[in-house]
Amino acid sequence: MKVTRRQTMAGLMGAAASLSLPGRLSAQAGPILHASWGGGVGDTWTGAFAGPFEAETGTSVRIVEVPNPEAQFRAQAGNPQYHTGIGTFVQGVNLMRDDMLETFDIEEIPAMKNIPEEYWLKTEDGRLAGITPYFAYYGIAVNTDEASIEDFSSWKSLADEKWKGRLGMTRPIYLSTYDLTILSKAAGGDEKNTDGGMKLLEGMSRNVLNVSNSLAQQNTMLERGEVAAMPFYSVRVWSLNEAGVDHVKIVIPDEGALLLPYVVVAPKGVSDRERVAEWLNFIASPEPQERGMEISGYIPANSEAEATDEIRAKLGMTFQEVKDRLYQPDWGYIAAHQKETVAEIDQMLANL
């Protein structure tokens, strides 16, 4: 068979068009695409949010697991492939600051009225740039075969020399936002006054066995007792406990733990804006948040969400009692100064 040049060109153009079709269709029709971290987070979103939303509205939501939703949003700026995605509050602030988020009026997402304003990600003119579905907290995870819970009743214990080589620690990128903030609070300062916190962080660093930002590795180290304790996420310990690992406990020290709100954001110029607003409103409502709590221990942000007796027993307190023991810093300030803080921590670690 002889193929003419024109036929070859037509074939190539047809192939190119068909290859680009899924990308162009993805954010315009069909399911809502929600970018999520993998592992337990993706499962939570499928079970607690996407499934019930589809059952209630008929609109399907596909949870797409990616390593870092923020990176996806930035890479696709101007041509968003996802309708929504989840991030930490700091990531939300950074995206908002770079004008990469779609904003909404409170009347478009009325369920947000039941979420305390301190958890809102909003622009200077009061528009919503993100929805806070839930929060976790950052406390001290303790392997009770290696140490007692009382050993870590204060954040200052982490700097005690007796734990040399027995603690785990995350990377400077998270130390800058989480560890330093709560250690500063424990030292009498806050996110804007970190001198005392930096001293505690330096003390803790001297006790550290290794540094890792792999949550799976941190889980394993805690479970195997390679480290006795480390600052860690409440939801990770919750998952371990649910999986039958009962010798790892999360402690809220006397100075409190750090409240970690998460945000669901929509990229600027998102298509199907109305459907997205409906989806965001569902996320902000109490029922799916309660289901999220049951699945993975995320504490609902909606004030109308209630803890069942079982959940209350597992938490050891009510939602409100947990909230009362948590510290909510100025995440905007932390996000704005993150790079300098990471550089400061990097240099502190290099000179240990």
Partner: protein, 279 residues
């Protein structure tokens, strides 16, 4: 179709690939030296004014050099054994490349199970009473080099095997029959002839070790951050591409400073072995 047109058509894919590579490289360097449309070396000044970055660069080069050395020390005898194996050599080659079928994360993490504080070796040491607390076998530069040697050694072996297999066995036999001891035969016959493979393997392993991310991240300790890890952080967490580009350019230049002389040496050795330029 004329022969020249056919040749051009066949070369087009590789030319395209090279063009993409070169354009990428130029853009990388460009983005590191242009700030707001102006030529500016601010990123480089910032890098070299920070003592932790300078130390990190030194650590990266040192780790890569040690990794290359140990990969060569392990890889050469292994490659020799494979090249001279009289049975089914393909089975051995398959065993060497078999680890590539497993994710680098799993391969690196496997060392935690062996060397970690609750790993096989430490469990034995504490069980037998030889030590009363776990020995620091992990989360230091030792474990990083060990993990990198494990991951990169196959590249060294394959590079050397391919050359050793071209060396006729009777050259060694001739040397031995003329009274050459094994060490002398190795030093005067085998080593010079296999030098191109050694240099290729060295280049490959060194370059990959300088840019390593996963292994140092999983097996390194508090003070073992390498430049590759830092670039990863700048791209994935801060989205600071110009700074990442500057760090990558520094890595590229320092790696080239080592690799280019190796390449020149390799070319010279190959020419000599082929009898070119001989007096």
């Amino acid at each position: 179709m004329p022969r020249s047109a056919r040749t051009a058509l066949m070369l087009a894919p590789s030319a395209l690939l090279m063009a993409v590579f070169v354009v990428g490289l130029v853009r990388l360097i460009w983005s590191s030296v242009v700030l707001d449309g102006q030529f500016d070396l601010a990123h480089y000044t910032a890098i070299f004014s920070r003592s932790d970055y300078v130390a990190m660069l030194g650590r990266t080069l040192r780790t890569a050099a040690l990794t290359t050395l140990f990969a060569l020390l392990i890889g050469y005898p292994t490659a020799y054994y494979v090249a001279r194996y009289r049975g089914n050599r393909n089975v051995l080659l398959l065993l060497i490349i078999f680890p590539w079928l497993v994710s680098i994360v799993v391969r690196s993490y496997g060392w935690v199970v062996i060397l970690g504080p609750r790993g096989l070796i430490n469990s034995f040491l504490t069980w037998s009473g030889l030590t009363d607390r776990p020995a620091p076998l992990m989360y230091n530069d030792f474990s990083v080099v060990l993990g990198l040697v494990h991951v990169l050694c196959p590249f060294m072996i394959i590079a050397i095997v391919s050359v050793l297999m071209q060396i006729p066995r009777n050259l060694e036999e001739a040397s031995m029959s003329l009274g050459g001891r094994p060490v002398h035969t190795f030093a005067t016959v085998l080593l010079p002839l296999s030098l191109p493979g050694i240099l290729t393997g060295t280049t490959l392993v060194y370059l990959m070790a300088t840019g390593a991310i996963v292994t140092p991240l999983l097996l390194g300790g508090l003070g073992d951050t390498m430049l590759g890890t830092e670039i990863f952080q700048e791209v994935m967490h801060f989205f600071d591409y110009p700074k990442a580009a500057a760090l990558a350019t520094v890595l590229l230049v320092t790696a080239l400073a080592i690799v280019l002389p190796i390449q020149l040496l390799e070319r010279r050795v190959t020419r000599r072995l082929n009898g070119e330029g001989a007096p």
